[in-house]
């Protein structure tokens, strides 16, 4: 095949492909004609609205079930006031499913019922900075109830609360709540029997009756070792939380300076610091790599970066 003289692939750094035959196959894949899309924005928008409506329906059902339980409990206890069910309470318990009509003039959802969330928490636009809730399966979807509160549907998620968080993260799963303390990270599978695996930090299930069950981490996940910190930093980086990732990498390098993770951490730390405009910090991180691992295979690249960054103040040990 013609035109396969561009080996090695992968630019001026290390080659991505070294076997010439495989490189030829890769070249064919790269030259594939661009896909012809038939899906359009309207189809996507309609599908998104359907998904949102489904989500609201399940939330409404949950809220209704919770309220029915509440009213039932009150009646069983002979409450309220004089043994008669409180009509206003019953009225409030009626949860209407929103229709989600969209105003043609401004496109804003004008019919979203507040009833659904009135029983749970105030609506918030976004989660608090640093809080991560990441769907890990196709069916996963969540609703932000407040900066520190989300409701999750069936699916797989990974979630984390930042170390410096002012509050714990409350995750509503059916009638239960998973409380994730600052610095904690869990993998949550919501199905017929929701299951949470503690990856780091602390978390606990709070049952409907207030019973609290702390999540116990397995032996492999309890320790806050170098690889756990590296994984946490990578996740923060992937989520775009540069500040959080820098903090995690700094902790790793400080606590485990001789670990194998520390070298990779320093490379990423330097790059993140440079991207954040902290050139002195980046220079010191690069210098530390060369000092600790003088035979690093990334040495030429690091030296080029150091040259670009230029001289600066003395680095703190």
């Amino acid at each position: 095949m013609k035109g396969v003289t561009r080996l090695p692939l992968g630019g001026s750094q290390e080659p991505a492909v070294r076997n010439p035959e495989l490189a030829r196959m890769v070249e064919v894949a790269r030259r594939q004609a661009p896909p012809r899309l038939t899906v359009d924005a309207e189809r996507v928008h309609v599908a998104w609205k359907e998904r949102r409506a489904r989500r609201w329906r399940s939330l409404a059902m949950l809220a209704a079930a919770a309220l029915v339980g509440l009213v039932g409990t009150s009646l069983l206890r002979g409450l309220p006031r004089g043994g008669e069910p409180d009509a206003s309470l019953v009225a409030e318990a009626t949860v209407q499913e929103p229709e989600h009509e969209t105003s043609a003039s401004n496109g804003v959802d004008t019919t979203r019922s507040e009833d659904v969330v009135a029983v749970a928490a105030p609506v918030a636009e976004a989660l608090a900075p640093g809080v991560r809730v990441e769907p890990r399966s196709a069916d996963a979807a969540y609703t932000v109830l407040g900066p520190w509160s989300v409701d999750v549907a069936a699916g797989v998620y990974e979630m984390a609360a930042p170390i410096e968080a002012a509050s714990s993260l409350h995750v509503r799963v059916g009638g239960r709540t998973l409380v994730l303390e600052p610095g904690g990270m869990v993998r949550l599978e919501v199905g017929p029997r929701p299951e949470a695996v503690l990856l780091s930090g602390e978390a606990a299930w709070i049952e409907r009756d207030g019973r609290r069950t702390s999540l116990s981490a397995g032996a492999a996940t309890r320790r806050s070792d170098a690889s756990t910190l590296a994984r946490q930093a990578e996740r923060l980086m992937a989520a775009g939380d540069r500040k959080g990732a820098i903090a995690a990498y700094r902790t790793l390098v400080r606590k485990y300076p001789r670990s194998s993770s520390a070298r990779a951490a320093l490379v990423d730390l330097a790059r993140l610091l440079k991207a954040a405009g902290d050139n002195d910090g980046a220079r010191c991180a690069y210098a530390q790599i060369l000092e600790q691992w003088p035979n690093n295979h990334l040495r030429p690249e690091i030296e080029r970066e150091l040259q670009r960054l230029g001289p600066g103040p003395k680095c703190q040990p």
């Binding site: 035959e21 495989l22 894949a29 899309l37 359009d40 996507v44 490379v267």
Partner: protein
């Protein structure tokens, strides 16, 4: 590098020249509120890049349409939680990569059910004609890629097929450069073994 950078720079220049940064933020906020026009604008800006990524990750043009739709529906659903401190392109790349993972899982399950037919297909003789050779190359490559663990396939796709630099791949995949490097090399070894090629030293 060239292909990826071109697409990113075109997207970036489009965003900057047509709407400006402030308008881009306003557009994002409007899309977060669920405004159809804003979602349309975001879709039109990013659809080509996402479609291209999906084709390069799956090797199957017929899968692109459905996956693009899935990616944007998931993105619009999750948009209220998007804080904007990550690049939207990177964020969409991650969502698309997750969708493609699911697609490979489903494909593998399907192939297990249709194992006999799949084996017969693989036993077909190759032809020297170039177009057929290209198809054959693609089929063989993606068959082998589909058998790799997700992380290795994604690293190899980003580095070799998307032609990203180590640094770009590291940023996009959210793993250290050294990890990208290791996974790409390991993926190449596994691919060579699966394709009956000489393994690189």
């Amino acid at each position: 590098l060239r292909g990826h950078t071109e697409v990113v720079s075109v997207t970036m220049s489009l965003a900057v020249s047509h709407v400006g940064q402030a308008d881009a933020r306003a557009l994002l906020a409007a899309a977060q509120r669920g405004e159809a026009s804003a979602q349309t604008a975001l879709f039109d800006t990013h659809k080509t890049r996402v479609a291209r990524q999906i084709q390069r990750m799956t090797g199957d043009p017929s899968a692109v349409d459905d996956l693009v739709q899935e990616v944007f529906v998931a993105a619009f659903a999750a948009l209220p939680g998007f804080r904007g401190d990550a690049q939207l392109e990177t964020w969409l790349y991650t969502i698309a990569a997750n969708k493609v993972r699911n697609w490979w899982d489903a494909k593998r399950r399907r192939e297990v059910r249709e194992a006999t037919a799949a084996r017969q297909h693989k036993d077909e003789p190759t032809t020297p004609e170039e177009s057929f050779e290209s198809d054959e190359h693609l089929t063989r490559l993606y068959d082998a890629l589909g058998r790799l663990p997700d992380k290795f396939r994604e690293a190899f796709t980003a580095r070799a097929i998307e032609n990203m630099s180590l640094q770009e791949a590291s940023q996009t995949l959210g793993v250290p450069i050294s990890t990208v490097s290791y996974r790409t090399r390991r993926a190449e070894q596994m691919l060579c073994a699966a394709l009956g090629l000489e393994e690189p030293s």
